[in-house]
């Protein structure tokens, strides 16, 4: 499945990815090309999550103020505290090397007949020396599953003829038998030039120029030969860089999970979603900045369509986004923002928001919704998918809209999918598999008229999602919300009179 920018932005995945800090150019590529763990790849996903858990444990143990042992429910071999410290130090050794890598993939994208230039050879040697250090550090920690590096020892030997592992490169005399005598002759001549008065240097300089040209030709032969030999290992180099990228991504995921207190998702065998204390980190940060708190949500979704109703500004859309974000993160091999999560793997996860902003390609918000839904249903004929719909069909007249929403809930109930829909229409929850309602404006508070309306609503709102019976009527809170938002008095009077 393709993670489009629109989906990443709407779900908040982009926000999360921006907080990932890969250290190498290869890690940055890995973040751009996240794998999608769909149905059938459970084992691979568990392996990735094991890796993240292990990296979390080691990173945490190596930090100056370790948190309590994170509960990773993972099973790498038991580590004694001393072993754990050693392994943690080894991981730091690995991450110390990662930022030193330069991206040399471009250099390998060439015809083997075109020789590397001196700087490219330097870059390759620099890569090999750095890689060797990383490999040594990596060997000292419990291995991450699937992170196995191909050997580049031969290449390093070729590039580091004196074995000193210096971060410099020159075409050494040992690469070609004729180089040493030629360079000795040239050096002698250069010494003579230095001894000669400036006006009389002409013929000597000419001689030197000829030698320099010969040297250049020999160096070209050497560069061609080195290029030929290095290009034989091209696949190894590329696979090595790809593996470095995956390793980098695992560590970045672990650091993110530690920073935000994320939890390892469990994979559910049936087709149901269980989320406890799920959060949306982007919304949470925004609230924290305003001095408010995010209310973590609990949700149980099973096959078919679940409907959420509730007051305006009650966090219905946030609950959709939180659910979609959890699914996307899990299926990309991340820990999720929740206290616990049990999730199935979907072929496809989609979030359809009523207002998708500009760029809708000449479609109204209603038109776009219908178009996106139709596209999804067409494309997922034989797939197990998840779809979240925000107030589907709100953009048309209420009678037809409600009928369309009901029809969709019924239709989704017969599909191989899990769906979550918010709505203000009565009668939609009657046909749904399950029904949640935002607890709503339950708190009666007086005397804060001067405050920010958003704060006043937040103070009165209980954002928890509570299971509600099918067919329970949608709450009528628009009037109160308008009042809290300080809508113009005369308009409010007319509104009230009309109700």
């Amino acid at each position: 499945m393709k993670l489009t920018l629109e989906l990443r932005e709407n779900a908040g995945l982009q926000w999360v990815l921006e907080r990932l800090s890969p250290l190498s150019p290869f890690g940055r590529t890995a973040v751009r090309e996240l794998p999608w763990y769909g149905p059938g790849t459970e084992a691979a996903l568990e392996e990735e999550l094991d890796n993240v858990a292990l990296a979390m444990r080691l990173w945490n143990a190596g930090s100056t103020r370790p948190q309590e042992e994170p509960d990773c429910s993972c099973g790498p071999a038991e580590l004694t505290p001393a072993d754990l410290q050693d392994a943690a130090a080894a991981l730091r050794g690995v991450t110390k090397q990662l930022p030193l890598f330069h991206d040399i993939r471009g250099s390998f994208d060439r015809d083997p007949g075109v020789p590397f230039d001196l700087v490219e050879l330097f870059e390759i040697k620099h890569f090999l020396v750095t890689f060797e250090r990383l490999e040594q550090a990596y060997a000292a920690m419990p291995p991450l599953s699937g992170i196995v590096f191909p050997s580049l020892a031969e290449a390093l030997e070729l590039m580091d003829t004196d074995g000193r592992r210096l971060p410099t490169f020159t075409i050494a005399n040992c690469y070609h038998n004729d180089l040493a005598p030629l360079r000795a002759e040239k050096a002698k001549l250069e010494k003579a030039i230095r001894m000669t008065q400036e006006e009389k240097r002409g013929p000597l300089l000419e001689k030197r120029r000829q030698l320099a040209v010969q040297e250049d030709q020999l160096e070209l032969i050497v560069r061609q030969e080195l290029t030929g030999r290095l290009m034989v290992w091209k696949e190894r180099f590329l696979s090595c860089m790809e593996t470095l990228g995956r390793l980098d991504l695992i560590v970045a995921k672990a650091k993110l999970a530690l920073r935000f207190g994320c939890v390892r998702p469990a994979l559910s065998g049936d087709k149901s979603i269980t989320l406890r204390g799920v959060r949306h980190p982007q919304v949470e940060e925004d609230l924290n900045n305003r001095g408010e708190r995010f209310t973590p949500l609990d949700l149980d979704l099973s096959k078919g369509c679940t409907v959420i109703t509730g007051a305006n500004m009650g966090g219905k859309t946030v609950s959709l986004r939180s659910t979609v974000l959890s699914l996307l993160l899990c299926q990309c091999g991340f820990f999720v923002f929740a206290q616990s999560a049990r999730l199935p793997l979907f072929d496809r996860v989609e979030l359809i928001l009523a207002d998708s902003g500009p760029g809708a390609g000449g479609l109204s918000s209603f038109g776009k919704e219908v178009h996106l839904l139709d596209k999804l249903l067409q494309e997922t004929r034989d797939q197990f998918f998840f779809v979240a719909l925000d107030e589907f069909a709100r953009g048309t007249n209420p009678q037809e809209g409600a009928a369309l929403a009901r029809a969709l809930v019924r239709h989704l109930g017969s599909q191989d999918c899990v769906a979550l829909m918010t709505t203000h229409y009565d009668g939609v929850s009657d046909v749904a598999g399950a029904h949640y309602q935002v607890a709503g404006l339950v708190r009666d508070i007086q005397g804060d008229e001067g405050d920010d309306p958003r704060k006043r609503i937040a103070r009165r709102m209980d954002y928890r999602l509570l299971p509600a019976p099918p067919g329970a009527p949608c709450p009528r809170d628009a009037l109160r919300v308008c009042r809290l938002l300080k809508l113009d008095d005369s308009l409010m009077e007319l509104f009230q009179a009309d109700l």
Binding site: H102, D117, L118, V119, L121, F122, E123, H126, P167, T168, F169, T170, I171, R183, K186, A187, E190, I193, R194, R209, A212, E215, D216
Partner: protein, 332 residues
């Protein structure tokens, strides 16, 4: 060889060779300096090669430098095929140029090199540090040519200013322009310690102070630009972070009270001589936050355009107009 330039630059590093115009004899001065400093492990780079790359392409001129084994230099990757010593790559900077990234190299033998270093002044200090870490004893920078592109010259160390007949056919004008540039480089920071302190680390585009260093509010218009006409009629110190052009000097000259204008350094004063004279005649004073040093002026009486000055007369005229040592780098 007679040591002409080496005593003038002393122990300073880096030494930036700048030219008042193209063909002012920058390369000659650079070569001369390298020869005189032959006993030191030198590190070379260049800045602002915009004009010369054309010559490199057309091959009409080859301003290459002959380095000795052990010297370091930084040049763009695309220039390496034009360098003929046995080379060792010792590093790659993150400075990008149209000719590829700038690499740091060590010459393992003598030979000719072509320099194409960073084009932004801010990229030079890190490179200078790299050179010193690699064991260079002195850094030489082939600086920019043309008065409007001197930025960064002499920020650290000293500058060697090259001037010559290529600037103009009129010798008096060449001398006057040279004197003007030297005068700008001679500007000093304000004497009032409180004012100096207030300027330290100041990032605002413009700021207003009393001559004693007391900050004053600068009247602004709707777009956020200063309203110079609303300045209080009293002696003031005005800080200008960017380039100082003619209009600012003319406005400040006419405001009816003495003004001390403080620029970031001499290379930021891009205004012409006429506007500067007007400003100074009206009681204005020009100061800088950071003093730059010209160690010496190298004169080239030959122009690339067919005319030339009498060497002796040119050097004498310069010596008369300047308080700095003047040498004819070709005379020895």
């Amino acid at each position: 060889m007679e040591h002409l330039l080496a005593p003038l630059v002393g122990d300073a590093s880096p030494v930036t060779v700048i030219g008042l115009c193209k063909n002012a004899g920058k390369t000659t001065a650079m070569r001369r300096l390298m020869a005189e400093l032959g006993g030191e492990r030198l590190a070379l780079t260049s800045v602002g090669r915009d004009g010369e790359s054309t010559d490199l392409v057309t091959g009409t001129e080859k301003p290459d430098l002959y380095v000795k084994a052990g010297d370091l230099f930084a040049t763009a990757r695309g220039m390496l095929s034009l360098c003929d010593p046995t080379l060792e790559v010792v590093g790659l900077t993150d400075v990008m140029t149209p000719l590829g990234p700038v690499a740091v190299l060590r010459a393992l033998s003598d030979g000719y090199v072509q320099l194409a270093g960073p084009s932004a002044a801010g990229q030079l200090p890190p490179l200078t540090r790299t050179f010193l870490e690699l064991g260079a004893q002195r850094v030489l920078i082939d600086g920019a040519a043309g008065r409007k592109s001197l930025a960064g010259a002499g920020v650290e160390g000293v500058a060697l200013l090259c001037t010559g007949a290529s600037l103009d056919r009129d010798m008096e004008l060449v001398v006057a322009e040279t004197a003007h540039t030297c005068w700008l480089f001679g500007r000093k920071p304000p004497e009032e310690p409180r004012l100096r302190q207030a300027l330290d680390g100041l990032e605002a585009r413009f700021a207003l102070f009393t001559p004693e260093g007391e900050p004053l509010e600068l009247p602004l218009d709707e777009t956020g630009s200063p309203r110079w006409s609303k300045l209080p009629r009293q002696p003031l110190a005005v800080w200008a972070a960017g380039g100082v052009m003619d209009p600012l000097l003319k406005t400040l000259a006419r405001r009816g009270a003495p003004t001390t204008l403080i620029a970031a350094d001499a290379t930021h004063v891009l205004a012409g001589r006429a506007a500067l004279d007007l400003f100074l005649r009206n009681g204005g004073e020009l100061r800088v936050r950071r003093k730059l040093t010209i160690a010496a002026v190298a004169a080239n009486p030959w122009s690339a355009y067919g005319w030339h000055f009498e060497a002796e007369k040119f050097v004498q005229a310069l010596r008369q107009a300047l308080d700095l040592p003047v040498v004819n780098v070709k005379e020895a």
